[in-house]
């Protein structure tokens, strides 16, 4: 039987997001030229939440984008079935701006590597920061996050499930141990 540990419930997640929103503004040096880019799937919703929180706190309107990194994956030539490709839509220009890449879980770092390559094809931001709700360790590439909501130590077959109410009807983060792959 898989065991499920709740890492964040909805109210804990709300306060974590609140803190992250503050840190994003602080590390970006303000909201000028700021773009939040969510990685499909749940990064998109999280970026939207953070943009809302930053907007509420600062009165600024924050540009949003979404990025699907499927076509930049480094394992496309080895996996069999083609993964579904989602929507990518970025603001007209990211040239010279501060781009904050938002994802739900940071694990091997391969998704972020792909995201950085994809962003480079859209322009040359002044800075790129990485903001994740959960850092579960286990990096396979030299990539670190600038803003982290929650850190948790995991082993290989653990699963970190992030739920957002837009897609899942509730907010929360669960650590699932011993689930069949």
């Amino acid at each position: 039987m898989p065991s499920v540990t709740r890492l964040l419930d909805d109210s804990a997640m709300a306060s974590v997001l609140e803190r992250m929103a503050g840190e994003v503004v602080e590390k970006s040096g303000g909201t000028r030229g700021l773009v939040l880019v969510g990685i499909q799937r749940r990064g998109v919703e999280l970026a939207g939440r953070l943009a809302g929180l930053i907007g509420k706190a600062t009165g600024a309107t924050i540009s949003l984008g979404k990025l699907d990194i499927t076509l930049y994956r480094d394992d496309l030539s080895t996996i069999g079935q083609r993964p579904r490709v989602g929507e990518t839509s970025l603001p007209d220009s990211i040239e010279g701006r501060t781009v904050v890449v938002v994802d739900d879980v940071l694990y091997t770092g391969r998704t972020i590597r792909a995201a950085l390559d994809e962003l480079a094809d859209f322009g040359r931001p002044r800075r790129i920061l990485l903001c994740v709700l959960v850092d579960r360790g286990g990096r396979e590439l030299p990539i670190q996050a600038d803003v982290v909501g929650e850190r948790v130590a995991t082993v290989g077959d653990d699963r970190v499930d992030v739920a957002v109410w837009e897609l899942d009807g509730r907010d929360g983060v669960d650590l699932v141990r011993g689930a069949p792959l």
Partner: protein, 314 residues
Amino acid sequence: MTTPTLGKDLIGLEGLSADQLRLILDTAEPFKEVSERAIKKVPALRGKTIVNLFFEPSTRTRISFEFAEKRLSADTVNVASSGSSVSKGETLVDTARNLEAMRIDMVVIRHPSSGAAQFLGDRIGSNVINAGDGKHEHPTQGLLDLLTLRDRFGRIEGLKVAICGDVLHSRVARSNIWGLLKLGAEVALCGPATLIPRELVEVGVQIIPRIDDAIAWADALNVLRLQLERMQAGFIPSLREYNRVFGVTKERLDRAGKEIVILHPGPMNRGVEIDSDVADGPYSVILPQVTNGVAIRMAVLYLLAGGAPEWQAI
């Protein structure tokens, strides 16, 4: 959840399920955006080698495939029948086997004989994509027509589509018929009796002999090119008479007094099957069809390049 996959090859729409058709159409959506980027290139097929083997003249389809391949970062080689060993009498299989010996991954083939793509796909390990074989099928054209209709109407199911003109010689018509019927559209054929194969009624299409009746019935007209190069003689009395009886003209559309979407696979015989003021008019989606063609071909290349058809969790 099991997602449908495509097999090794794309030979025709007849062999695909509704789920497989929807998979291709849905996959094409994000690829539309790639062509709107400043850098129109993603690395999805990096390192793959694709041969475009064209045994018949083609501008639109060949260029569209080439753009699709290049925008996915594949390496491409174009082989035309003239100027290659084909003109020295080399057989199709020998040409393909020689290409395979150079370690290619995919072949896009256009051939005057029906069944050529299937024949090739059965004999080589590379993925084969049919870019039109004789009078059989032109699956990527059928798919881009479906995508264009879905863009316009938001659905395929329940649409009434009339395919007009030279159905007899048309692989585009056959791919359209299969795709439309599988996705739940109603299909009618309209054209001179000499150019409408009556046996197609058996697959579930109706025949509307008069173009005015077809216009009155349909939500969309797919106007086929009169394939003069495939006609020896006797199919139609004259081009002028064809235009008078079956031409899609502004007068006819005005008389019907309704909105209707006009597709044409190109190249057009302006003033024969379609008048210029219709082709360039407000109901025409002929250029969106061309734009969608690149996205559809990117989707097909991307989906087939996976190779192994077994399901794997991502």
